[in-house]
């Protein structure tokens, strides 16, 4: 294994009593792409947020353990977190341009770190827009609002913005989940190019994306690290049963179902109403399985549940007439 860049040592995180990360110990290699995979709610994003301590923004969080970056413990109260964050670019799930022009979005980072000379800033803006392949598309409208760009362009702008503070590490939190396939591919290609110069940590629930990108894989499941290792080994020959199941896409077999309702014989929207009622009596994070046999409900119940803010984990046909919809309560 190559040189270690981020050393995670026995990290635990608790969200208002919920044990979100359990004894995570792993070394993230330098100048490689490390993918953190696992089902939704397994602690992937939490682990990522621990690395740049954005987790501090969440109310009621308790952390223990150590994360060492260049031999500095970022959980130590004495560590200057602003400097640590400068070393790490973040690419969020949703493209989030700052409420300013394209130019200012890139210039923002260098400016807050004290760069004043206009010509220096100009050259940084150009350099990183070129690097992410956006320069040709925006060079004539650098002063127009960044929000006018397409979603895919916005995400590349965000990548360039993160790079402009000259970090060593790029943290990506499901960076392509809001993008169309072409833009996603674009971002993935950028990341593959960037790994020559940067350490990249990517959280993804897309197993295929992890297979395409990752050199090293960490598999989290319900806050626990069930497997980690070189990507080819993990994907080809997973040691843990849960990893094998996740890779084969049959993971839901082990999700703990908290409640099952059978709405067979009911038509839409009654099955949705029953599902809603059932959800109402459940706690956040609990999982509901609904069995339906009305073809309309197969699409409408998941859609309605997503509109209510819940997470649809799967929709599967069980036999000729029956479908199972598995939903996790959110919010």
């Amino acid at each position: 294994m190559s040189e270690t860049h981020i050393e995670i040592d026995n990290v635990n995180a608790y969200y208002s009593g919920n044990h979100a990360l359990k004894n995570i110990t792993v070394k993230i290699p330098k100048k490689q792409i490390t993918a953190i995979i696992g089902p939704s709610g397994c602690g992937k994003s939490t682990l990522l947020k621990c690395m740049n301590r954005l987790i501090d923004l969440t109310d009621d969080v308790k952390l223990s353990g150590k994360i060492l970056i260049d031999n500095e413990d970022i959980f130590d109260r004495k560590t200057d977190i602003v400097n640590i964050r400068k070393k790490m670019g973040l690419l969020a799930q949703k493209p989030t341009p700052l409420p300013m022009s394209i130019y200012e979005n890139i210039a923002y980072g260098p400016k807050i770190h004290g760069l004043k000379k206009k010509s220096d800033i100009d050259s940084i803006v150009e350099k990183y827009l070129v690097l992410v392949g956006l320069w040709e598309e925006v060079k004539d409208r650098l002063n127009s609002p960044a929000s006018q760009l397409s979603i895919g362009q916005q995400q590349r702008l965000c990548l360039a913005r993160g790079l402009a503070v000259e970090p060593e590490i790029i943290l990506c939190d499901e960076p392509t989940s809001a993008l169309d396939p072409v833009s996603s591919q674009h971002i993935e290609q950028q990341l593959l190019k960037l790994k020559n110069d940067y350490t990249i940590v990517i959280v993804t629930h897309n197993i295929h994306q992890a297979m395409r990108l990752a050199d090293y894989v960490i598999h989290l499941y319900l806050g626990e690290m069930v497997e980690h290792g070189q990507a080819n080994e993990v994907f080809e020959n997973p040691k843990d049963e849960r990893t094998r199941a996740y890779i084969n896409g049959t993971f839901l077999a082990d999700v703990k179902i908290d409640k099952v309702i059978d709405t067979k014989g009911n038509q839409c929207p009654y099955n949705f109403v029953y599902a809603k009622q059932a959800m109402h009596s459940m706690e956040k994070g609990q999982i509901l399985k609904i069995i339906v046999d009305d073809p309309t409900a197969v699409t409408e119940v998941p859609r309605g549940m997503e509109a209510d803010g819940h997470e649809v984990l799967s929709v599967k046909q069980k036999n000729k007439t029956d479908w199972e919809i598995v939903i996790k309560k959110q919010g």
């Binding site: 954005l54 700052l98 409420p99 300013m100 913005r161």
Partner: protein, 297 residues
């Protein structure tokens, strides 16, 4: 089936009528006030009304300048006092304070908004006016008429405006997306840099709207101001002078105006001026809001 359709039709018509009524109300008011105020225009020229400072309705002198200036001074002072304090406290409440503190302070601020204005006026008379008279004016070596004046009016008014600006600004700041803050922090910005460059920038139109809302309330506020501002019809030249804002003029003279010809129209004119100025503020605010929204944000 037919009854259902009939109900449907009637209910939609009824709602339309209610909406039209609400919209037209402003114009009804404008027209009726204008028609009562119009006699004065034939007797005195409009420039004399707006720019002359002699006020003597019994002698036919209708210079509105003291009242207009009085209103502007009091409102301006109230805004100068209220805006920085309420902005800083709303930034503190939304960005720095913990949930528990915020939940404790919010109802308190909302409570301030619900206090009747006469109570504020009374508090002004009993606390602010004596403070200016006994402490502040002697310390600064200025003359006041017993502490009554623009300063007292401005202080009382600014306290009345606080809750509006604070609660609206707080709401606006909280609505700025969490992701934006994370982005700025992840680039290595400090908390204050993030607030200054990103959160406030994003919230700017809303903050502006909050200030205009507060300002509009200050402009038309009558009771509390009337009680502490001195009510002397003279163009003020410092914050220690007394003033006589337009709403106070209307409230104080409404009963006696029947005795003098044109007095009635003069007071109606005061109401008209108030209405038009508030309208202009609102239009301006809307225009700036639209501009900001189309601009960088």
């Amino acid at each position: 089936m037919n009854i259902r359709r009939l109900k449907d039709r009637i209910s939609s018509r009824l709602m339309l009528a209610a909406t039209v009524f609400a919209c037209l109300l402003f114009f009804f008011m404008l027209i009726s006030i204008y028609s009562r105020a119009s006699p004065i225009f034939s007797a005195v020229s409009i420039t004399d009304i707006l720019l002359k400072s002699e006020w003597g309705p019994t002698e036919g002198k209708f210079g509105f300048l003291p009242f207009i200036m009085g209103t502007l001074w009091v409102t301006g002072l109230a805004t100068i006092i209220a805006v920085p304090i309420s902005l800083l406290s709303s930034i503190y409440l939304s960005e720095y304070a913990g949930i528990r503190l915020r939940d404790a302070v919010k109802p308190l601020i909302d409570l301030l908004a619900g206090i009747p204005s006469v109570v504020y006026g009374l508090w002004g008379v009993l606390a602010v006016v004596p403070f200016i008279n006994n402490t502040l004016a002697p310390a600064l070596g200025v003359e006041t008429i017993g502490g009554y004046g623009i300063l007292a009016g401005g202080i009382v008014l600014s306290i009345m405006v606080f809750p509006i600006i604070i609660s609206v600004t707080c709401e606006v700041l909280r609505s700025v997306s969490h992701d934006l803050r994370e982005v700025s922090l992840s680039l290595g910005a400090t908390k204050w840099q993030t607030i200054k460059h990103v959160v406030i920038r994003k919230a700017r139109p809303g903050i502006f709207a909050a200030i205009i809302l507060g300002f509009s309330r200050a402009f038309g506020e009558t009771m509390a101001v009337l009680m502490v501002v001195g009510n002397v019809a003279k163009v003020p030249s410092s914050v220690f002078d007394p003033a006589y804002p337009l709403p106070a003029l209307i409230a104080n003279t409404f009963g006696e105006m029947m005795s003098t010809p044109l007095y009635d129209s003069a007071i109606m004119l005061a109401a008209l001026i108030l209405l038009i100025v508030v309208m202009i503020f609102n239009i301006l605010a809307r225009m700036v809001l639209i501009k900001i929204e189309r601009g960088v944000i």
